[in-house]
């Protein structure tokens, strides 16, 4: 995945300075401006420039301190060009603090001025943090009252069963809440049980279990009828997800179990906290998957169109990273390597869109793309981070 990897070598080289940029998507999904790396780089230059006039380099810092700085710089650039994701560089984000102070106190100046520089940098960094920090930014569901993984009491907790969660989020957080001998799996999410694999065999064995079986679906109040059942469209989604795995609903109703974990962040401060939760819907095994396996080809006549784009920008659209799938607009390929999707819509127009871009970028009609008559700047994909000088 190249979500935070620089698009251009200069962007990477200047990453210590660019981290001050208060935009989201630079090295983390959030806005997280960081002035410490720029401060370290500039202080180092200043110390060298001012200090070398009268002293030798080794008099500024001990040799092992120079080596530490060198090693840190190597780690920084290894991180930048391999991943660039701030969550995987927590240790580096912590270490930079002492390194900045180490260099700052080598400034050829009075003690008072050096202390002012250190305090000033700390103040500046705290200001940057205060501008953008928001508690619980990653939270999807609130934890208000305790305990954290609370599911209201239900007879479902009293006996073992097979629970099949539906959706991209597996909600395996519920597992400790039900009977410890219950068995869990997930369908319609990130993983598909492909025939011939160990997990598919285990899934089939699980479905052959004599235990009662339930689909588990997040019950958002936005998709709920007044009698706490799924709205019609939710039923369609549930049936489709189950059908793909050879499962079907056994009864026309689900059991609604209230839980904050089914709620949303909107409930954080006030409002009824118990009106969301989970549906537990009895299911049975039909043994007949209603959908074609995912590796069945979709729109093979458009393969050459996608191939043209993949050949033009292999870094953004790597071959083999995405398969053609039908979608609401036509068909498309979703490249999770770069968070970019390419669509050929029902009118025959080809466009791509990064997940953070507001609008798609049209490449042209399918015939034009097939003939290679389209333009795309592979290093400046709208939605990905652009340094200030590359913005329009």
């Amino acid at each position: 995945m190249i979500r935070f990897v620089p698009d251009h070598w200069a962007d990477g080289l200047l990453r210590p300075l660019l981290l001050v940029d208060p935009v989201a998507g630079l090295y983390i999904e959030l806005q997280a401006p960081d002035g410490r790396f720029a401060a370290l780089s500039l202080l180092l230059l200043l110390v060298l420039a001012l200090g070398l006039a009268g002293r030798r380099r080794r008099d500024l810092l001990e040799p092992w301190q120079w080596l530490l700085l060198l090693g840190f710089a190597a780690c920084f650039y290894a991180w930048t060009f391999v991943s660039g994701n701030g969550r995987y560089f927590i240790w580096g984000l912590l270490l930079v603090g002492p390194l900045v102070v180490m260099v700052a106190r080598q400034l050829k100046a009075t003690l008072a001025l050096r202390n002012t520089v250190i305090l000033g940098l700390l103040g500046l960094q705290l200001w940057l943090v205060s501008m953008t920090f928001e508690a619980n930014s990653w939270s999807l569901r609130p934890w208000t009252r305790g305990p954290g993984i609370a599911l209201a009491n239900t007879p479902l907790k009293d006996q073992p069963a097979v629970f099949v969660t539906i959706g991209t989020i597996t909600h395996s957080i519920l597992v400790p809440q039900l009977h410890p001998a219950s068995r869990w799996t997930n369908v319609g999410g990130q993983h598909e049980f492909v025939p011939g694999t160990l997990e598919h065999r285990r899934f089939s064995e699980l479905m052959a279990s004599p235990l009662p079986k339930y689909a588990v679906v997040r019950a958002s109040r936005l998709a709920m009828t007044p009698d706490q059942q799924p709205v019609e469209h939710a039923w369609v989604v549930i049936r489709r997800a189950l059908g793909r795995s050879g499962l079907a609903l056994q009864a026309p109703e689900c059991t609604f179990v209230p839980s904050d974990m089914g709620g949303s962040r909107i409930n954080f401060v006030s409002g009824p906290a118990r009106d969301s939760g989970f549906w537990f819907c009895p299911i049975l095994v039909t043994g007949q998957a209603t959908a074609e396996p995912r590796d069945a080809p979709t729109a093979p006549d458009l393969d050459d169109v996608f191939a043209k784009i993949e050949q033009r920008c292999p870094r953004i659209f790597p071959q083999g990273n995405a398969q053609t799938r039908p979608n609401d607009e036509g068909v498309g390929r979703s490249y999770n390597h770069s968070d970019v999707g390419v669509v050929v819509n029902s009118l025959g127009y080809v466009y791509f869109k990064h997940m953070r871009a507001l609008n798609p970028t049209v490449l042209g009609h399918v015939d034009e793309v097939r003939a290679g008559r389209f333009e795309i700047d592979c290093e400046r994909i709208p939605g990905r981070y652009l340094p200030p000088w590359a913005r329009h």
């Binding site: 240790w91 912590l94 002492p98 597992v175 068995r183």
Partner: protein, 253 residues
């Protein structure tokens, strides 16, 4: 270390922990992230009660991750306390683990040059500057294992950051790095810091010996840390680092 230094470390840690704990307390709520709902709590559960015989990818592919760092937060989530209190406890705990190696590194990088008060100011500023990051503060406010996985790496750097080199220090740093890699594979990116330690000026024979010691220590640190989980993956998939290198192990798809 002198008693004054111990006291300083205690105070710096306590102040930092209180500051971080104040964030969820002020918000009045904590929250579950996508990852927490999907696999953090489940991994905490399986770290004490394996469920290979029961579940089939209950947490999808994320269920293959190293689970043991999630055990504390799983236990925390089971306590009958409100979210804000849990978030405060969790944040303070993480800070109590992260600040000591950061402070020790500051002590070594910033040897006292004048009055004691100046040295205390510099070390405290260094720690505060280290923690002053939106990404770090956000990480301290979630159930993700990134801050915990960073702890051995910080200790590795703190241990090796000293004027005097020794094979023992190098071995300890390498073992801690190996442990960090077992916790989270992204710690591999910290390898250049270890190599710097290795390159410090010394005769070729001593350099070679230190290199071998570090390789052995890193391998030991990784193996011992990964063993409990690797053994389960081996029994289940025939591959101790599943799903990585699966073709190489030639196990069942």
């Amino acid at each position: 270390m002198t008693r004054a230094l111990w006291l300083e470390l205690l105070l710096v840690t306590a102040v930092a922990a209180a500051a971080v704990a104040a964030i969820p307390l002020q918000a009045g709520v904590w929250g579950w992230s996508w990852d927490a709902l999907n696999h953090h709590i489940y991994l905490g559960l399986v770290s004490e009660s394996p469920r290979w015989h029961l579940d089939v990818l209950a947490a999808s592919g994320q269920g293959w991750q190293y689970p043991y760092l999630y055990w504390p937060v799983y236990r925390l989530a089971e306590l009958p306390i409100d979210g804000a209190t849990a978030g405060a406890i969790w944040g303070a705990l993480l800070v109590a683990l992260l600040v000591p190696p950061l402070w020790l590194l500051s002590l070594r990088l910033l040897p006292q040059q004048g009055k004691a008060g100046q040295a205390i100011f510099e070390r405290s500023a260094a720690v505060a500057l280290g923690l002053s990051s939106v990404v770090v503060l956000q990480a301290l406010g979630t159930t993700a294992n990134d801050p915990l996985a960073a702890v051995p790496l910080l200790w590795a750097v703190a241990i090796m950051a000293a004027p005097q080199a020794s094979d023992r220090r190098a071995a300890m740093a390498a073992a801690l790095w190996g442990m960090a890699v077992a916790f989270k594979l992204t710690a591999l990116l910290a390898a250049p810091l270890l190599l710097v330690w290795w390159w410090r000026r010394q005769p070729v024979a001593a350099q070679l010996r230190r290199g071998l010691v570090m390789v052995a220590a890193a391998a030991l640190g990784y193996t011992l840390t990964h063993a409990p989980w690797g053994w389960q993956l081996w029994q289940h998939y025939g591959n101790p680092v599943f799903p990585l290198l699966h073709g190489w192990f030639g196990a069942e798809p």
